[in-house]
């Protein structure tokens, strides 16, 4: 396979973008990465001089919403340059070759760019029954992943599937869906969480890899801090309503019309780390809470199992889907109260002598 690597700038110009467009992209990327404005030049320079790294983008058990999100990135250059044109030596959804040729192209990339390519994984990996639940080109997805991991310079796990298993891993997880992190040993994996992740966040991670040649700073759950260090709740424009105790009580009430806080409708913003409140979606058009819908917590592990979606308290394990900690707690309190009354009655009967005379029955004491 011929090594034919162009820079991002070269490709942008080839594609007919102006230098002005290119500079806009650089500025945008610098902003997303949280860099100072003085770093825009640095970003532009990196995109101008650094050769595009080859990318292998694998698809496992997933719905392709990560790819969909990415190609809807607000700046056309992002999708065009970073995805369509540039890299992607192998990606099932978008590549031209198919069948034997496709597999060959994957193989070639792994060989020719050993230690240089970026491995991006979309989807979880089924591990039950030797991984038969997801096979590509006659191999299980697990095998494909292991073959690609060795030579990867960096590994990116796109979305909740690859980061924590998403809906396939929800109980009872019939296929044994496993996130990338659990299968890759000794190499850091960047978890770009969300279902799907925000396009600008995805682009930001790629630019970071490119710009600094190393993986971005990650939080304890493997997510890039630049985008996942703050809770949706802390960047939510409805937050003043939360602090004022003004809550929507049902989706069709007056409070919902007034745009009060969705906490009581099960909003997971207080326990969810993502950039939705800042970048928003679809070119800054909106994000779920802005559209009146509580956050589902899609950038957190196990969010499918942590329901119900529309109630604040999760169901109480072992007590059925209608249960929650308060209902169970109240039930136990009543039971305890009944127990206390029963015990008090029993005490007055069985310990009558002790209570009246301060002494036990002699024969009882013997036992």
């Amino acid at each position: 396979m011929a090594k034919n690597q162009k820079t991002y700038y070269e490709i942008a110009i080839e594609k007919g973008y102006s230098r002005r467009d290119f500079m806009k992209l650089s500025a945008m990327m610098a902003a997303f990465l949280g860099l100072e404005s003085s770093s825009i030049g640095q970003v532009a320079r990196a995109l101008e001089t650094k050769k595009r790294p080859p990318v292998i983008w694998l698809h496992g058990q997933e719905c392709t919403c990560c790819s969909e999100s990415f190609i809807r990135s607000s700046h056309p250059l992002v999708a065009d340059i970073l995805l369509d044109q540039i890299s992607l030596d192998y990606t099932e959804t978008l590549m031209a070759p198919s069948g034997y040729q496709a597999e060959k192209s994957l193989h070639d990339t792994i060989e020719a760019y050993h230690g240089e390519y970026i491995l991006m994984v979309e989807g979880s990996i089924p591990t039950k029954e030797d991984g038969v639940y997801c096979c590509i080109g006659g191999k299980t997805f697990e095998e494909v992943l292991h073959e690609s991991v060795d030579g990867a310079k960096a590994i990116v796990a796109w979305g909740n599937c690859a980061s924590s298993g998403c809906v396939q891993a929800a109980k009872p997880n019939p296929t044994g869906a496993t996130p990338v992190r659990k299968l890759v040993k000794g190499k850091p994996v960047i978890n770009v969480q969300g279902c799907p992740p925000i396009a600008e966040v995805m682009a930001g991670v790629i630019v970071h890899l490119l710009l600094f040649g190393q993986i971005p700073e990650l939080d304890r759950l493997g997510r890039p801090k630049a985008f996942y260090s703050r809770r949706v709740h802390d960047t939510c424009y409805r937050r003043p309503n939360f602090d004022a105790g003004l809550f929507v009580q049902s989706f069709d009430d007056e409070n919902a019309k007034r745009g009060y806080c969705l906490y009581k409708m099960g909003c997971k913003g207080p326990v969810t780390y993502n950039a939705c409140g800042v970048t928003e979606w679809n070119n800054g058009t909106s994000f779920p809470i802005k559209s009146g819908h509580p956050c589902l917590g899609c950038s957190e592990a196990n969010f499918w199992d942590n329901g119900p979606f529309y109630e604040h308290l999760p169901k109480f394990p072992g007590f059925g889907i209608e249960s929650n900690a308060d209902k169970v707690g109240l039930g136990l309190s009543v039971a305890t109260g009944v127990g206390i009354v029963a015990h008090a009655i029993s005490t007055n009967i069985r310990k009558r002598k002790l209570i009246q005379e301060g002494e036990c029955e002699p024969e009882e004491n013997e036992s």
Binding site: P240, G245, L313, F316, I340, S346, G358, C360
Partner: protein, 238 residues
């Protein structure tokens, strides 16, 4: 025979059991748990208020949370102090009372269960401090305190710029996320509520049948012991 006369036959000796720091700890703990439970419950299930007001006029929910966080610190400092007093305090406050490391402690617990819970046996509690079953229960509550502090400060880490809560940021990471951490935190509240119900009842119960003044002992420090009765202590290393 007349009841009052009966009681006079029995001479009770006052014994100083709970030192001032233990009593202060107890009531500070009770107060902070009460306030933390009330505010915590409100945080978990805020009352439904239909109002046409704007957010800028009010901050009541923020205030409830603020009170929760203040008493979280009171609770923590008090708890840490009590652990210290488990080493510095008198024999009744000593940490060894609480951990059932000896076979005798377990035997005593079974004994108390027969006497006070199953009521198949009649006898008076030989311990002047906590009885064996009670001290084990307190040991469990100490563990619950610890868990409540870990989960509480764990979720607090994300909302506070202060350095101290950051020391607990590993807790939600270990549990896999803030949501589970928060749920454990919420469930533990019910543990404290159930504990408080049984605890208060049992104090009254023991006072009622043992006449040892246990209810007031946490105020004045004194308990009463029948004359001639040997005090049996959990052995403490000298």
């Amino acid at each position: 025979m007349d009841k009052a006369l009966q009681s006079e036959r029995m001479l009770m000796h006052p014994k100083y059991v709970w030192e001032v720091p233990v009593r202060i700890y107890h009531w500070a703990n009770a107060l902070s748990i009460a306030i933390l439970s009330v505010t915590g419950y409100i945080i978990g299930d805020p009352p439904a208020i239909q109002s046409a007001s704007e957010a800028s006029y009010s901050y009541w929910f923020g205030t409830v949370r603020y009170v929760h966080f203040i008493f979280a610190y009171v609770f923590l400092v008090n708890f840490v102090f009590r652990v210290y007093w488990g080493f510095a305090g008198n024999r009744y406050a000593n940490w060894r009372n609480y951990i059932p490391y000896s076979k005798r402690h377990w035997m005593d617990m079974w004994e108390i269960t027969k006497v006070d819970v199953l009521q198949v046996k009649c006898s008076n509690n030989p311990n002047l401090g906590h009885n064996a079953l009670a001290s084990f229960t307190y040991f469990l509550t100490f563990l619950a305190f610890l868990l409540q502090v870990l989960t509480g400060f764990g979720i607090y880490a994300a909302m506070s710029p202060a350095w101290f809560p950051q020391l607990f940021a590993w807790v939600p990471a270990l549990l896999g996320g803030d949501l589970l951490t928060r749920e454990i935190h919420h469930i533990l509240m019910w543990f404290f509520i159930l504990f408080a119900m049984v605890h208060v009842y049992l104090v009254f119960y023991h006072d009622y049948i043992e006449r040892n003044g246990v209810t007031s002992s946490m105020i004045g420090g004194w308990k009463f012991q029948e004359e001639g009765k040997e005090e049996r202590e959990i052995e403490l290393d000298k």
